[in-house]
């Protein structure tokens, strides 16, 4: 790199001197090589460069540096704050999840309890109804049986009466009550 630099320097040096050689327009050559202008230029270069350095070092650069630092601090601050908020949000989300799952378990337990209770109650009620119906059926059957017996007992008298009146109409004289009832008895017996 350093050797390259010096090569470039030499090359440009030759270029500069050839520039001087091929500019016949001004007898003194390049104005840059007029040494009488040097002291004034050096004096002003030193003055202006020192002023520039002081202005930069004491005023311009600290100002820019402050603004950049302020911005960096602000960014860092906001990032920390954002991280904190995110952690808070995470905790809250976790708490929410936990409470949600507890509530769900609790609700499921309650539902199971209620279901079981309802099922028990239903079974009890069903059996009670069953018993009640059973007794009612038994009572009804008994009533039907007694009614039938009563009806059957009445049938003989009615049959005797009907048979007596039929015979009286047909024959013209009242039959013997005893023989009619005996015949009815026999007929009922052969049917039963």
């Amino acid at each position: 790199m350093r050797i390259l630099n010096s090569t470039i320097a030499m090359g440009l040096g030759t270029l500069a001197s050839s520039l001087v050689a091929v500019s016949p327009a001004s007898a003194a050559g390049l104005p840059q090589l007029d040494a009488s202008t040097y002291s004034a230029q050096v004096v002003w270069l030193v003055i202006t460069f020192v002023i520039l350095y002081v202005l930069m070092a004491k005023m311009a650069l600290p100002r820019i540096g402050e603004v950049l630092e302020e911005r960096q601090n602000k960014i860092d601050d906001n990032l920390t704050k954002a991280e904190e908020l995110k952690a808070q949000a995470d905790t809250a989300a976790q708490a929410y999840e936990t409470s949600l799952s507890t509530a769900r378990t609790k609700a499921q337990g309650a539902i199971r309890d209620v279901k079981e209770k309802a099922a028990g109650e239903a079974a009890a009620r069903q059996s009670a109804l069953h018993d009640k119906l059973k007794t009612q059926i038994a009572e009804s059957e008994k009533a039907i049986a007694s009614a039938r017996d009563e009806a059957l007992a009445g049938i003989k008298d009615v049959a005797t009466d009907v048979a007596s009146s039929v015979i009286e109409k047909l024959v013209g004289e009242a039959p013997d009550g005893k023989s009619v009832s005996g015949a009815i008895q026999a007929a009922l017996k052969s049917r039963a």
Binding site: M1, R2, I3, N5, S6, I8, A9, M10, L12, G13, L15, A16, L19, S23, A25, S26, L30, P31, Q32, L33, D34, S36, T37, Y38, S39, A40, Q41, V42, V43, W44, L45, V46, T48, F49, I51, L52, Y53, L55, M56, A57, M59, A60, L61, R63, I64, G65, E66, V67, L68, E70, R71, K74
Partner: protein, 240 residues
């Protein structure tokens, strides 16, 4: 046709003599003052709002700060921090002098070898002092390349010393020659525009392109000068 090197002539504006030394304000000195004023205005006025979210102008001022700070950090390291104001002033001075010189009728201070040479010598002497202060006599080991057989040392050491001493020359001549050559070329083409009549459009187009090219050169040469200064500073601080 106008003389293409007339633009480099130094003209005395206010004659001044300080104890036998000519310290007249010339057009060159006036443009140096203008350069300093322009840089200060650019930075101080640009930063006057101190916005958290910068506008365009403040962005440019901050960009120049961060650009040079990054350059110094990458090339010198954290030890270079204290030289930041100098490196920054150097870069801005050369950049603004180059850019102001591109304005019509302006004078380009960096096209004068004495100006670039003084700047280069300040860098050269400053860097050498930094090296001597940091390393004392050990600094001279810089001229003894490592990993070279003893037999070629008598050859290598003079080469290293010459290459070290040629640094200010290469710095000064590179900037001076680039500015002078670019401005001369623009002026030569400009001189053909009117005499060629209708065909003057051709050198005019060339000059338009050259303005863009010279803007690039103005920035690039300021950058090169600053980067090389940083590299020299790195060498002085770290010795290879």
């Amino acid at each position: 046709m106008a003389n293409p090197i007339a633009q480099f002539e130094v003209k005395t504006l206010i004659p001044l003599n300080l104890g036998g030394v000519d310290a007249s304000l010339t057009n060159s000195g006036a443009f140096m003052v203008l350069t300093v004023v322009a840089i200060t205005a650019f930075l101080v006025l640009g930063m006057r709002k101190r916005d958290l979210i910068p506008g365009r102008w403040q962005s440019m001022a901050e960009l120049s700060y961060e650009f040079i700070a990054g350059l110094l950090r990458d090339n010198v390291g954290s030890e270079g921090r204290r030289y930041f104001p100098f490196i920054f002033s150097l870069f801005m001075f050369i950049l603004f002098a180059n850019l102001l010189g591109l304005l019509p009728y302006a004078f380009t201070t960096t096209s004068h070898i004495i100006v670039t040479f003084v700047l280069a010598m300040v860098v050269f002497i400053g860097v050498t002092i930094v090296g001597l202060v940091r390393h004392g006599g050990h600094f001279f080991s810089y001229f003894v390349p490592s990993g070279v057989p003893m037999a070629v040392m008598p050859l290598m050491i003079p080469i290293e010393i010459i290459s070290y001493l040629s640094r200010p020359v290469s710095l000064a001549v590179r900037l001076f020659a680039n500015m002078t050559a670019g401005h001369t070329m623009m002026k030569v083409f400009a001189g053909f525009i009117i005499p060629l009549g209708v065909f003057g459009i051709a050198p005019f187009v060339v000059d338009v392109a050259l303005v863009g090219f010279e803007l690039l050169v103005a920035f690039l040469q300021a950058y090169v000068f600053t980067v090389l200064t940083c590299l020299y500073l790195h060498d002085a601080i770290h010795l290879h």
